[in-house]
Point group: D2
Chain length 202, copies 4
């Protein structure tokens, strides 16, 4: 189990995943607290000079990205209410953690953030080797993205109290037992403390 | 050398690449003829029911997709005039071959259409195994995309008189000698004849 | 949650992962039972005519595949005892579930079976769209491979009692709650029953 | 057009592609000269401390890697004489340029060296950002690998007189006009001169 991953802000990126209005409101038990913590780590990351990347789920009209074999996505495609969760205001990144001028926005069509996106291309172009990541759900975007990133040799930090899951027991099993095998898992305030030791002002 | 690739429209996609206003005007010797031929095969493809995909080059503000090691793209990033070729009206797909309602648009940041895009994800989701492709330049987007697609086991057709290159000799060497090893290479009118044999009305 | 994934043997592959002698002996609580079940589903798969793929962990001399940033693999590289787990007899696939003449063997260097292997290339070449998978550990090769495969639109079945994990609670959380979101999760005998309904003789 | 790519040996790899006995004897006009030049640059690369990677074409029994849609490979699969070119002594890397103890050997099943191999994984694990490449044929392995590598942001050098092609005009068009857009193209002796300026002894 990793206790702390060292990292250089200039070679790091923060990944905020699926913080879209409808998803936040569906998944977060303590919405105000979750958004406040996510907002504070995003601001810390920006102050440190690291790249900030927002990943969101989105589709073209008629969802040509969805395979009939993909059961999860097919359920979304064939259900008006679910599909609307990813459109318009519901699908926009929540205003409390919205992208700022120099942030990068990536639209994905699968659970993991690497599948069919330019995430890896951008990270390589920027010579980034460390990812600090969080998102919704812990057992969805966070888990899939982290396992892919680990196999692609990124150094990894997960901000556990900026992750949320419908099932509390699943969330706990992941952040306590599974994610620590390949990532340093810490709280938002622990991460902000590390930034301070690197000379980043709050 | 392949003489003719058989294909099923329902499992095929037409790929129109880099037909952006500034690129067309820079590369095409006979702009009116090139656009007219591209327009006719796109309309034929739509009538046949196959997927139509437009691939264009584009970047986010500040071009975070560009690596300092990529000489071609770095030249674009560091030169205002070149960068503007991919922005606004100059960077838009030429109005003569513009996307229609059900067409799919993909933005790429490299020479080949597969690098860092959701092209392969969409083709797989649609169970497409054949690509009919053309674009500008023959030695750029067409060559890189075709070689990648061949190694990914797509059946391939190149519409040679919908491709253009600054160097006529390079274009000829490619369409006469290199591309035919992995693709059926034909003219726009030969392709439209094949569609007619498949019952597609002009 | 999926109850049962329908599948065509001709378009399916069984994936047996990391059943290497040292790994089996380290991870399995009931080694004889685990091997017997794995052996029976492998034989069932062969009788049905589906492709059988064995995935194993292996490295070239000096492990050039291992990045200093990959903590899990670096621990293996820098520890003689752990490295030897993947060499010689210890690293060979257990004789009870050994590859037969027409089986395919793939060597991987990461947790997931797709990272840096020809697995996807082979599956596409064979037009396979369904994976029946199991392996050791549930929270390692099985989880990483399944999440990648789900995002690549494979239909998925997990044989849960052919998976093993050092931590029973983690195994249960995965097979009861996380894996069922993207795969049909069943026992070896349930899978063999389905094969019988497809006319496969025991 | 690039005149010279600067590179650090510690972050570079030399890629020798498809120098297998049968391929050399089929493609090389001046076999002795070609092998002598390839041997000298391989030795220079080893002396400089850079990684040396040999890429060869190879298949498992029954060629499960070959798709019925891949015309080039299907021709090999269905023709005994062609298939035997990749087996046994015929398929071995030519003894004049054979791998030495610390070299890395990669087996590929497609034209390009990245498709379905662990090449990118190894290069990333070793933090290599520059490739010095050559092989047979210029219009095959060299072209496909170089275009993929360019889009993956590798710095690129091609050793032109260590490449060979059945069609001399195609070879010249590639090394004179197409490859120089994305790579520094030089002779074996020019490359060896550069190594000397870096303090590498002949």
């Amino acid at each position: 189990m990793l206790t702390q991953q060292s990292f250089e802000p200039a070679r790091s990126a923060m990944l905020s995943m699926d913080y879209q209005t409808a998803i936040v409101s569906l998944y977060a038990q303590d919405q105000a607290g979750l958004l406040e913590r996510a907002r504070s780590v995003l601001n810390g990351a920006r102050s440190s000079g690291m790249a900030v990347v927002h990943v969101r789920v989105g589709f073209r009209p008629n969802l040509p990205e969805v395979s009939p074999r993909n059961l999860l996505l097919n359920a979304i495609k064939s259900n008006d209410k679910w599909r609307q969760m990813f459109e318009g205001d519901a699908g926009a990144i929540h205003s409390e953690v919205a992208p700022e001028a120099n942030d990068i926005i990536i639209t994905k069509h699968r659970v993991g953030a690497f599948a069919g996106t330019d995430l890896d291309l951008i990270l390589r172009a920027q010579e980034i080797d460390t990812l600090i990541l969080f998102g919704i759900a812990t057992s969805g975007a966070v888990l899939s993205t982290l396992l892919h990133a680990a196999d692609a040799d990124y150094r990894l930090i997960v901000i556990k109290d900026c992750c949320a899951d419908l099932d509390r027991q699943v969330h706990d099993c992941l952040v306590d037992k599974i994610l620590p095998r390949q990532a340093a898992v810490m709280t938002a305030s622990e991460f902000l403390e590390i930034l301070i030791t690197k000379g980043v002002k709050r």
